[in-house]
C-alpha cells in the first residue's frame, strides 16, 4: 500500500500479575506465545497497575491508620478514610474534589486520588502508583532490549478524565527510550506559517491508542505493542516535562478547595 505512514497495534494477553513478578519476563514470555518478536522502534505500553502490582505497591486497607485530616477529607469527598489517608501520604496537595474523587497534585502532575486505585487489586486492597515509573520503564526496557537485541521504547500508562469530558483516556506516567513530548516549534502548517500548536503529547497519545485494546476491565491485556513509530529511540532518560501552571488555561483558573 502506498500510504505514507501506518501503525500496527498488538495486545499482549498475560497471566494475572502478582507481587514479586518480573513484568519484563512475563511480557516476553507472552510475546513469545503470541509469536511477536520485538524489533527496533517498537514501543511497549504497560498499564501502571500491572507494573505497580509486580513491584508490590499493594496496600491492605486494614493496615492503614487514619489521621484526623484524612477522616475529615474522607467525609467531605465521600471516600474510604483509609484510602484518603493513603492519598494524603502519596500526594503533595489535595486541590479539591467531587464526591468520590479528589484532585491531587504530586511532583507537578495532577491525578484523581493520587493515582490510587482499587480496581485490579485483591478485595480490601488498593494499588498505589509505581514508586519511580521512569526507573520501572527503564528496567523493563533493558531486559527486553537484551532479549530481543533491539532498541525499543517503553511507556508506563494510566487513565485520566479530561475536564468536562465523560470517559477515561490514556496518559503517560513515564517513558524510557522515547521522548514523551515532541517539540513541534519551527514546524509549519499547510500554508507555510508557523504552527499554533507547539508540542505533541506523543506518549499520552500512544497510551490512549493502547487503551483501545487494553480497556480498563479484567481483560488481562496489560501490555500493548505499537509498531511503526517513526520517532527516535533515545538512550538517556527523559523525565516527563512539566507544564508551567501559569501557562495552563485550566490550572490558572483552578481555585483550591481542599484542606491540605
Amino acid at each position: 500500500m502506498n500510504v505514507r505512514s501506518s501503525l500496527q497495534i498488538y495486545g499482549i494477553p498475560t497471566p494475572v500479575i502478582v507481587p514479586g513478578d518480573s513484568i519484563a519476563d512475563i511480557i516476553a514470555d507472552s510475546l513469545d506465545r503470541a509469536g511477536i518478536i520485538l524489533k527496533d522502534r517498537d514501543v511497549l505500553v504497560l498499564a501502571e497497575s500491572a507494573v505497580a502490582t509486580a513491584e508490590g505497591r499493594i496496600v491492605c486497607l486494614e493496615d492503614v491508620c487514619v489521621s484526623p485530616v484524612a477522616g475529615e477529607l474522607a467525609k467531605k469527598y465521600l471516600l474510604d478514610p483509609r484510602e484518603m489517608e493513603l492519598i494524603l501520604q502519596e500526594c503533595d496537595e489535595v486541590i479539591g474534589g467531587v464526591p468520590g474523587a479528589v484532585l491531587t497534585i504530586t511532583d507537578g502532575t495532577l491525578s484523581p486520588n493520587a493515582g490510587i486505585d482499587s480496581s485490579n487489586a485483591p478485595e480490601g486492597h488498593v494499588v498505589l502508583l509505581p514508586e519511580n515509573p521512569v526507573q520501572s520503564a527503564s528496567k523493563i526496557r533493558l531486559v527486553l532490549e537484551k532479549r530481543y537485541s533491539c532498541k525499543i521504547g517503553v511507556i508506563i500508562g494510566d487513565s485520566r478524565t479530561q475536564p468536562l469530558r465523560l470517559g477515561c483516556v490514556g496518559i503517560a506516567l513515564a517513558t524510557s527510550g522515547i521522548n514523551p513530548v515532541e517539540d513541534a516549534r519551527g514546524a509549519c502548517d499547510l500554508y507555510n506559517k508557523p504552527l499554533t500548536i507547539t508540542h505533541r503529547a506523543v506518549a499520552d497519545n500512544m497510551v490512549s491508542c493502547a487503551q483501545l485494546i487494553m480497556g480498563e476491565a479484567g481483560e488481562g491485556i496489560p501490555g500493548v505493542i505499537i509498531r511503526g513509530f517513526n520517532g527516535d529511540i533515545v538512550d538517556e532518560p527523559i523525565e516527563m516535562p512539566l507544564f508551567s501552571p501559569d501557562e495552563c488555561m485550566y490550572y490558572s483558573n483552578i481555585s483550591r478547595t481542599g484542606l491540605k
Copy 2:
C-alpha cells in the same frame, strides 16, 4: 499471530483541502490511490480543520468588526482583537485564560479560543470549527458507506491540551456510526470486583491514536483509518455525551476570571 486483539492504522495523504471541496470524495479518491478499500467497522478519523475548510468555515480577519468587549479581552489575554471577536461570537462563555489562549465553553464543551485556529488557514485567515460536526460526520459516512458498500464509523477530531500537561492530544468533536463513549459500568476487574472507571472515551482515544500519524503540521494527512475496532456500528446519531460540571473534579474547582 495468537494475539487477542490488534489494530491497523493507516494515514491517508490528500491534496490541500479548499472551501467547496467534498471531503468524502477527496478521502475516497485518496484511499483509492493508497489501495485501501474500506470495509465493515473501519473507523475514519478526520481532522476538524480539513472538514471546516471544505465547509467554507474560513474567515478573513480583515472583515471582522471588533466590539469593545472583544478589544478588552484581547488586551487582557494578548490575542488578536479580531480573533477575540470571533471567539466571543462562537462560544457561550469565556471562563478565563492565559496569555495567548482563553478557555471557552460552548454547548457544555471546553475549548481553547472556541476552537478557532489560524494554523492550516491561509495567511490573514482563521478556521472556525465545523458548524454541526455530527451532521458533517454523518454526511461523510453516508457517501463512503455507499461507495464501499459497508458500515463504518466517522469521527471529527481536534486537538486539546490537558491540565498541567505539555503537548496536545486528540479529542472527538463528533462521531457518526460509533458510540463515542463506552459505558463500562457492570464490567469487572481481574478480581471480579466492579470497575472504578465507569466510562471509556473510545472516540477521544481513537483521535489520539490517529494523531500519532496525522500530526499537527502541514503533513497533508487529514484522515486516518483505524481497522480492527471491535465495537458496534450504530445507525442512529449519537451526540457527544456531556459530563455534569458537578461531577468533574477539574471543572468543579475552576473559578471564572473571564469577562463574558
